[in-house]
Amino acid sequence: MSVLRDLFTIVLVSAGAVFFLAGTAGLLRFPDPLTRLHALTKADNLGLGLIVIGLLPQADGILAGLKLVVVWLLAQLAGAAATRLVARATGRPG
């Protein structure tokens, strides 16, 4: 059981790291600010989300798990708003 749990964590956390990799690659390689922003949001949402889901089985107790989810939701909210604000700041109509 514990092996299965750890496997779940390993797979999802690794997948999350891959999304961070993709986000960084996009940030570095994409040609203009808006496409780079697009790449960044992938890392923000999916990368962090997968890592949080992967860590859930490792959390001891429901409250600790809930706190992880809260961190992710906060990051989602902040990230979404920040993305729109940065898009606005790039000078084109958002």
Binding site: F20, L27, L28, I51, L55, K67, A82, V86, R88
Partner: protein, 96 residues
């Protein structure tokens, strides 16, 4: 397991810090800020991974603070950015 989680924290940080090259290159200020935002999210992920590795729930609080203040810092940047757009075409003595 702890070792794997610490290693993944290192991997995420390493990946994200490569993105910091955008802080060097720019070209726009928004690009620099995006790199910082990516580092912020990556740090949150790394903190969560470290918290799970050490088994200390208090470390998760650091992730909460980082998330809240990352949003705050970006709002501070953008709202001051609006300022320079909005007042750029006003005569100087009306800017203050």
């Amino acid at each position: 397991m702890a070792e794997f989680l610490i290693a993944m924290a290192g991997v995420v940080l390493a990946v994200v810090s490569v993105g910091l090259a955008r802080v060097l290159w720019g070209p726009a200020d928004a690009d620099r800020l995006m790199a910082a935002q990516l580092l912020g999210t990556g740090s949150v992920a790394a903190v969560l991974l470290l918290a799970a590795a050490v088994g200390s729930p208090a470390i998760v609080d650091a992730a909460v603070i980082l998330t809240l203040l990352a949003a705050f810092a970006i709002a501070a940047f953008v709202s001051s950015q609006f300022d320079s757009d909005a007042t750029a075409d006003l005569p100087r003595d009306q800017q203050q």
